[in-house]
Amino acid sequence: MKPASFEYVAPTTLDQALERLAEHGFEAKVIAGGQSLIPMMNFRLAQPSVLIDLNKIAELSYIRLKDDELRIGAMTRHVQVERDALIARHAPLIHEAMTKIATPQIRNRGTFGGSIAHADPAAELTAVTVALDARFRLQSAGGERWVPADEFFFGMFATALGPDEMLVEAAIPVAPERTGYALEEEARRAHDFAMAGAAAVTALDEGGKCSAARLVYFSIGDVPTDAGDAVAVLIGKEPTPDLIQSVVDTAADRLEPSDDIHATAEFRLHLARVLGRRALQRAFERAAVEAN
């Protein structure tokens, strides 16, 4: 299990990196933490002829607050995100998700942007960023554009990124008051990719009625799946267990999960119901605590 040969470039600035990417396009592969890419290269499932290493680009590693948004540089390592006080305060859902991602050693090397750009359907951050209405800044030598998370993921390992583009930053709106959140997942072993998972973000108004609700599944289909209107019925209502149950039942009816060796579509659908319900319940409980 040794990788095939490649040409290696390690630019020290983003501009250099984008230039090299423009030059090589499809031939090249950008390596961030490499914790998903290198296994694929070791199995020779990926054999890029040029590897553009972003690890020497210091300007891509940061977490800061700007205009009610958290800005996370693409090369910020999972462990930095996991331990960051701004994240814990303003995006607790991300904080909660971090410890569920892989193992400590992988989190020490893996990056926030890399995980998103890799777009593994089982990755927590895909659903979490959609649930939080995050936006991603994609940059190429020719310019930049912002893409909302829910338009970024096209399919399994497929995204809105063009061959000459790199995801350089994520922007996450700061959680408003009286917001609750929860991430629920069911994995075989502690650190495995989930068989199914759900991220919920909810808010309560002063009267204890639901004022906002998001529920996004991961590891159910090829892309993070937003329960969308199914949860919209919660708005303006008290989130009772029965109501939540009916919401997740409706949401589940629209899911089209697939089979793999650990979970059949039927089991996934069942888990989606259970985890969706638990995520919403826990998110509302937290919103209620926040409200007090």
Binding site: P3, R188, L271
Partner: protein, 780 residues
């Protein structure tokens, strides 16, 4: 005596391992060393029509590429490792052993087609892509229950069917027992395949030194001496021209026994041709295809009982998956047949076995080696019977245990050693009662479970018993030498893969010789150091090799006392050996050190008297008449989340009886590791093959070895029933932990779910399977 034997001493081998200074095969670096990579078939079953290696040969850095054709007359299937049992009538056994490189037909995915030898492993792997292979895929034999169908493809074209072996074993008369029964339980029980999953993959460095005419092979084998003998025989060398070294080996668990794997044969052949050292280190993907596996069996079983839960008879007809070849004979299914009988008094037994060839990696013993299957079958049937009869699971076992006064107990059928399956000793009830006590069985059933159930929680308890045949022959040996420094050097033929041999064996030696355990220097697994032996398998080290240690060191002790008696002018019975010297008891001034004695025993002048030997050294062997049978009871408490079917183990209790304990710290470690492996087998680890025989989860990301998060604290207790078959009274324990876990976990999960009709008849379980069982029933 017995000051050192039985002590929880820390291990002699550890400082080397802890500092990264221990030699593993991949650490061997030799000048000019080349690296091998194997081209393996993607198909499970295919005819080889052609293979073109010319482009690979042109790649820079490639030294050689070989196919089966290149091997000429040296190409031959491997030797059968275990002969089929001669003692049963009408046994069918078709020997078909693995080939070094595929010549005509691929029989399992991953079977090697060619080998590239290059300057680096990277280049060798590049060159694999250059080889053009013409394979014509054939329908694959995957499902073992359909392997004998008339229209099944043939794994071996020269056989009439995929039948590898057939035999029937009986005891008493099952049919008449059945007629007298109040209750008959009939079920189909399945156990699926897993891997051994040693952390170190296999590896070989082979070097033929042409000038010295000497072959050295570093090999991750559990059995270096048989490998040495076999390789010498295959390539026409004297055994004295071949040295096989099994250095530190990163876990064995069975598949590293003397397999004569294709890679062992091909690397040896290639170095003989090239006269350069060649290294091959199996990678993890290869390990999933090329290293042997175990556990695939399907049982159709029946148990006949009286209304008070006594077993009248048991009938177990089963199919065992041999994979593509069967070099290891019937060891696994014979173990299964024996362990179905368990610690129970089962007067009437009948078992018909079909072993089938399939287009899958071959099966050979993996920690447990057929025993977990037998235990799963009998324990499941007892659980079902207990439920039907309204008897507590612990009580039905109690009622069926063999009583204490029957040992040695002849079970009449033959075991893996092809001798009658005799249980040497046993005392089952105390082990179970201790386990029940440790886990608080009564309190859990009467108080805790009802209380938690009232809160809506699904908690359950399980308790199962098992036996483990261990310590089989034929023999092992040891040479014990007092060196002139006073330290003791010891050599034995078995290899070591983490069992602590450097310490537990040293304890036995030090016990006799009055030295510190840390002054006993052990060499294991180097054929240049010890010439005779078989290997580390079947939980036999602590029985067979340790008793050889015991025998050799008692002879050395005798020699020490004889010589010291002469030199100190004191009768032998007044001498004691302590702290590395021989003293006249009560006269501390009259003493002589072992080092000095060793020098006196090897004089530079004068003659060795007739009938005596120089030095304080002895070589001795031990071969038991038959295996010693360990036993025990495991108990566990689980909680099941009925929505996600996630299972959490809340308590795990083991009571193990393996006779005399050499080192309780090491023993507990063996038990913990076995249980963890068993938890994997019971709930996490399963190999998934598709209809074409493709393995769908050939990686550690998809094949789920338990991590520390999945393995709970294991509380270990002991009872001690020494084996009468060897002077130490020891029994093996290396596999014990793994054996009863699937049966136990099934019982505990059923107890937690607590609903009629929820019955686990398959191992491994998984959340998916539990979901299908639970919700499948609900929908009907």
């Amino acid at each position: 005596m017995a000051r050192l034997i039985g002590k929880p001493l820390k291990r002699n081998e550890d400082p080397r391992l802890l500092t990264g200074q221990a030699l593993f095969v991949d650490d061997v670096e030799l000048p000019g060393m080349l690296h091998a990579a194997f081209l393996r078939s993607d198909y499970a079953h295919a005819r080889l029509k052609g293979i073109d290696v010319s482009a690979a040969l042109e790649r820079e850095g490639v030294v050689a590429v070989y196919t089966a054709e290149d091997m000429g007359d040296d190409w031959a299937p491997g030797p059968p490792l275990v002969i089929p049992p001669p003692t049963i009538e009408e046994v069918t056994f078709n020997t078909r052993t693995q080939v070094p490189l595929v010549k005509e037909k691929v029989r399992h995915a991953g079977e090697p087609l060619a080998v590239v030898i290059a300057e680096s492993r990277y280049i060798a792997e590049d060159a694999l892509d250059d080889i053009v292979v013409d394979l014509e895929p054939l329908p694959a034999v995957v499902d073992i229950e359909r392997a004998l169908d008339a229209d099944a493809a043939l794994v071996h074209d020269d056989l009439e069917s995929n039948l590898a072996a057939h035999l029937v074993q009986t005891k008493g008369g099952y049919q008449s027992a059945r007629e007298q029964a109040d209750l008959i339980i009939k079920r189909r029980i399945v156990m699926d395949r897993g891997i051994a999953g040693a952390m170190e993959n296999r590896g070989i460095v082979a070097y033929w030194d042409n000038k010295q005419q000497y072959l050295t092979v570093w090999d991750t084998t559990q059995s270096p001496i048989p490998i040495r003998n076999g390789l010498a025989g295959m390539f026409g060398l004297s055994e004295h021209q071949v040295r096989v070294i099994a250095p530190f080996v990163g876990g064995g668990f069975g598949p590293k026994i003397m397999m004569f794997y294709p890679e062992e044969v091909v690397l040896t052949w290639a170095t003989l041709k090239l006269a350069l050292p060649i290294k091959w280190i199996e990678d993890r993907r290869e390990n999933f295809y090329a290293t042997t596996q175990e556990r695939g069996q399907v049982h159709e079983v029946e148990m006949a009982l009286t209304e008070d839960g006594r077993i009248l008879g048991l009938k177990d007809d089963f199919i065992h998956d041999s994979g593509a070849y069967d070099p290891y004979g019937l060891t696994i299914p014979l173990n299964t047949q024996c362990h179905v009988l368990g610690p129970y008094d089962i007067p009437n037994f009948s078992s018909e076995l079909h072993v089938v060839f399939t287009n899958k990696t071959l099966t050979t013993p993996v920690r447990g080696a057929g025993r977990p299957h037998g235990v799963f079958v009998v324990e499941r049937l007892l659980d079902i019977a207990a439920r039907e009869l309204g008897i507590d699971p612990s009580e039905i076992r109690r009622r069926n245990y063999l009583p204490n006064d029957v040992f040695p107990y002849d079970n009449v059928i033959i075991d893996q050693a092809f001798a009658n399956f005799i249980i040497d000793s046993g005392d089952y009830l105390p082990a179970m009662e201790k386990a029940l006590d440790m886990i608080g069985y009564k309190d859990f059933i009467e108080n805790e479970q009802p209380r938690l159930r009232a809160e809506g929680r699904r908690v359950g308890i399980g308790v199962v018993s098992f036996i483990e045949t261990t310590g089989v022959g034929p023999y092992e040996g040891a040479r014990v030498t007092i060196e002139s420094s006073g330290d003791v050097s010891v050599a034995t033929g078995v290899g070591t893969q983490g069992q602590g041999h450097f310490t537990s064996f040293a304890q036995v030696v030090a016990e006799h010789l009055g030295v510190k355990v840390s002054d006993v220097h052990m060499v294991t697994g180097d054929t240049a150091q010890f010439h005779w032996g078989t290997g580390t398998f079947a939980s036999r080290g602590a029985v067979v090799a340790a008793n050889a240690m015991n025998a050799a060191s008692s002879i050395v002790r005798k020699k020490i006392l004889e010589l010291a008696s002469e030199l100190l002018d004191a009768p032998e019975d007044e001498l004691e050996i302590e702290d590395g010297e021989v003293r006249v008891a009560d006269v501390p001034r009259m003493s002589i050190s072992l080092g000095e004695l060793a020098q006196k025993a090897n004089p530079l002048r004068g003659a060795v008297e007739p009938g005596t030997e120089p030095g304080l050294e002895a070589t001795a062997y031990f071969g038991p008449n038959y295996g010693a049978t360990a036993f025990g009871t495991h108990a566990m408490i689980v909680e099941v989340d009925p929505e996600t079917m996630n299972v959490e183990i809340r308590r795990y209790v083991v009571v193990e009886d393996c006779g005399t304990v050499l080192n309780p710290l090491i023993l507990d470690g063996q038990v913990h590791g076995g249980v963890a492996h068993g938890i994997g087998n019971a709930f996490y680890e399963q190999l998934f093959f598709d209809d074409n025989g493709q393995l769908l989860n050939a990686s550690f990301a998809d094949y789920l070895i338990p991590t520390s998060a999945e393995v709970p604290t294991i509380e270990v207790g002991h009872t001690v029933t020494p084996s009468p078959l060897n002077p130490l009274g020891s029994k093996g324990a290396g596999e014990a932990g793994a054996i009863p876990v699937p049966a136990l976990m099934a019982q505990a999960i059923e107890n937690a779910i607590g609903e009629a009709g929820f019955e686990i008849l398959e191992s491994p379980m998984s959340p998916l399977k539990l979901f299908n069982l639970y919700y499948g029933d609900k929908e009907q």
